[in-house]
Amino acid sequence: MSKFVHFAAAAALAVAISAPATAQDVAIRGAQVHTMAGPAIENGVVVIRGGKIAAVGPAATTPVPEGIDVIEAAVVTPGLVDARSVVGLSGFLNQPDDQDQLEESAPMQPQLRAIDAYNPDERLVAWLRGLGITTIHTGHGPGALVSGQTMVAKTVGHTADEAAIVPAAMVAANLGEWALANGGKSPGTRAKQIALLRAALLAAKTPDTPAKGGKDGDNGTKPAGLDTQVLRDVLAKKLPLMVTAHHAQDIMSALRLKEEFGIDLVIDGASEAYLLLDQLREANVRVILHPTMARQYGELQNASFTTAGVLRAAGIPFALQSGFEGYVPKTRVVLWEAAIAAANGLAWQDALASVTIDAARIIGVGQRVGSLEVGKDGDVAMFDGDPFEYTSHVTGVVIDGKVVSRTPQ
């Protein structure tokens, strides 16, 4: 870093700290502050100015500018990050008109954008926000071979555009039982799923052919369809392909796709990942693991509460998710899923990382959220005890420097 940059940063910080308080200024003091960017700070403080973190450190040595509200909490963490949800597309009433996470008219529709269906006023968004979740990777769910795109959103905002921090994050695909079609339709088998995906990716890889009889003024090439354009972004690694796969053989099929097409692959669900630790590590993929308490039936009949700990020990990057729920409860809460992982072999800090910084990195927003570091978004969750104890409460939530909840829940 040059001297100039040093000076500029220091000057910016000085301005930030001395400027008059705005609606996005707040300081949070915690008996324990888990920054996720170093060891926990005892008696720490996080100063947020203009919606961004301006300072983090021990309260004794970190000045809080005058006129800024100070909130106290026993435990302070970064705002929680849910690495895979459908909330906002899948509504809490579970009626046909609030379920937009799955379009079943065709097996592969990568052109479907999450932002065109995300409802920021959905009650489940507020529910998650009150429980400390400030960022969600949400969008199209499992149930189709390629169900559509995902987005990354803050759990605030009156419009989808306001909420979105990454409008198009990944393309969601699904291998295995949930994405099989009935009644003689394709894909009716696992092999056919892969054949269809390979054919689509190969077609997208092939340059557009000049159309016959092109009119004057155009280049004679018929533009590719929206679906193909999106798959080209996948082939170009602009968009990761997130493949929901639970059985080991489906996970291996996804790894073969990565090998063949050189795509950026994220494995979602992965309930049998513990059988494939070497393969996952060698393939250098990241995993968005099923909710720890996901029902151990059907596709997940071999799931285990211990998989998070096993992945961590094997050095495979992973995050936890709330996933898709088709009935009651309509969404899970990643805070509570991390708690069960922490009770089943995942170290406490690693469990917190799985719903903060590790989740943020895996969904591509690690530079912006997931830890309490200067310059990052002012997203904070507060607790009156160990966040993973069910008897503790979330006592406050701050997003972009705005206090969005002070009701203990």
């Binding site: 009626q95 308490m293 071999n302 285990s304 009770a343 069910y390």
Partner: protein
């Protein structure tokens, strides 16, 4: 798993079954000398917390419990220092054992019995036990006004549904009757109701007809009406699936009219009519879910529901509705109730003695008192801490779950093969046999 030894043991287990080893499920044979668990923290759920306490079990029953009890000379002593002992969990509403009830042929099928569909080898029974559950009300679903007779299951070792039954005095398997109102049973075709009023009218008609039948000579037996006679006489408890406050009030009206004993199941909005429930003396088997919604009737789901009921004086239990909540998450369930305002003591009662009282089994289970069944858990610490594990589950004096045994741990955490009903259950028992059935 998968090695020759395992396969060999499985074969042996099957052979043993063929030779009639199912009789080993008889609890009286299991425990030959008294066992005294010493130096434990004991929550009897029938009095004060006991520190450095002793629990003595003999012949499958609790012989003594307290801070200063005489240990029989022939008793085996086991230190439970640093551990907590409490009664096994009574789950008042669950669907473990691959249970099914009525079919789609009609809305009212009281003659159908859950026990005739239960697979005692289903691994989710062993999983429930690993989570500390020892008594379960296993129910058919809620897609009917009357979906069948429920089954009170004791999670003792057993290869047949008879082995794991609670029994009436006449030897018949014990259970209640599942009823439901609200949207689940409204199909509007095939004789099913299309509205709430019609649901109530159909039920009133069935109960009125039964009343006439029950007071007649009953020479031409009607299986369904016979069951309703047990309901009308108060012998058979009605487990009434009901969510919305107005639906719960409909249940109370039916109870007033026909005089049956009833337990409100789920009661998502029971907190809105807590006073009415207290006045009617009707208890609630409650469930707290991680988020509201998922169906229209669950819009009003609140985490503080159980706490509100407790404060109002409603006898409240917490249930899993497994697979809605995994049976292994019952302590977590209680912790969430505490988070939202229930007392710690009340939440633990809601897992144990309250459910036993609701099912009419409190003379046998639900608390640690001399003479009751030796159904208890050894925990690694505070039951309401997420970091605490069930170390051992004892049923009628037999240790049927031990977290240090590999195959038991598989049930506790899940993993490869844990979802397979037959294979794992056989192996599970065979393994327990190998450990000397302690």
């Amino acid at each position: 798993m998968g090695n020759m030894g395992t396969k060999g043991r499985r074969r042996m287990a099957r052979a043993a079954l063929l030779l009639g080893a199912a009789g080993l499920a008889n609890a009286a044979m299991a425990q030959e000398r008294p066992i005294a668990f010493t130096d434990a923290t004991i929550l009897t759920m029938a009095g004060e917390r006991i520190e450095n306490g002793t629990l003595v079990i003999a012949d499958g029953k609790i012989a003594a419990v307290g801070g200063n009890v005489a240990i029989p000379a022939d008793a085996e002593r086991r230190s439970a220092a640093g551990k907590l002992i409490m009664p096994g969990i009574v789950d008042t509403h669950s669907h473990i054992g691959q249970v099914a009830g009525a079919d789609r042929s009609g809305p009212i099928q009281p003659e159908v019995r859950a026990m005739d569909s239960i697979n005692p080898m289903a691994s989710n029974i062993a999983k429930a036990r690993s989570g500390g559950v020892t008594t379960v009300n296993v129910m058919p679903g809620s897609g009917h006004l009357v979906s069948g007779q429920t089954f009170y299951m004791k999670l003792r070792k057993g290869n047949t549904v008879e082995d794991i039954a609670y029994r009436w005095e006449n030897g018949a398997a014990m259970g209640g009757l599942k009823m439901a109102n609200g949207t689940n049973s409204q199909r509007g075709e095939g004789g099913f109701p299309g509205t709430r009023s019609k649901s109530a009218a159909l039920l009133r008609t069935a109960l009125t007809d039964a009343k006439t039948y029950c007071s007649g000579d009953r020479k031409k037996p009607d299986l369904g009406k016979e069951t309703l006679c047990e309901v009308l006489s108060g012998k058979r408890l009605v487990h009434f699936h009901s969510h919305r406050a107005d639906d719960i009030m409909t249940v109370l009206r039916l109870k007033r009219e026909f005089g049956f004993n009833v337990l409100i199941q789920h009661g998502m909005e029971s907190y809105k009519v807590a006073g009415e429930l207290v006045a009617a003396g009707v208890p609630v088997s409650a469930i707290l879910v991680d988020s509201p919604g998922g169906k229209l009737e669950a819009q009003g789901a609140r985490l503080d529901a159980a706490g509100v009921l407790e404060k109002a004086g409603v006898l409240t239990s917490l249930h899993s509705d497994d697979g809605v909540i995994d049976s292994r998450m019952m302590f977590r369930h209680a912790s969430i109730a505490v988070r939202a305002g229930m007392s710690r003591e009340g939440a633990l009662r809601a897992l144990t003695i309250n459910g036993a009282r609701q099912l009419g089994l409190d003379d046998r289970v639900g608390s640690l008192e001399p003479g009751k069944d030796a159904d208890f858990l050894i925990l690694s610490g505070d039951p309401l801490s997420v970091y605490t594990h069930v170390l051992e589950t004892w049923v009628e004096g037999e240790k049927l779950f031990d977290r240090t045994r590999e195959q038991d741990l598989l049930m506790a955490t899940g993993g490869y093969g844990a979802g397979n009903p037959m294979e794992m259950a056989y192996y599970h028992w065979e393994f327990a046999e190998g450990e000397g059935a302690q």
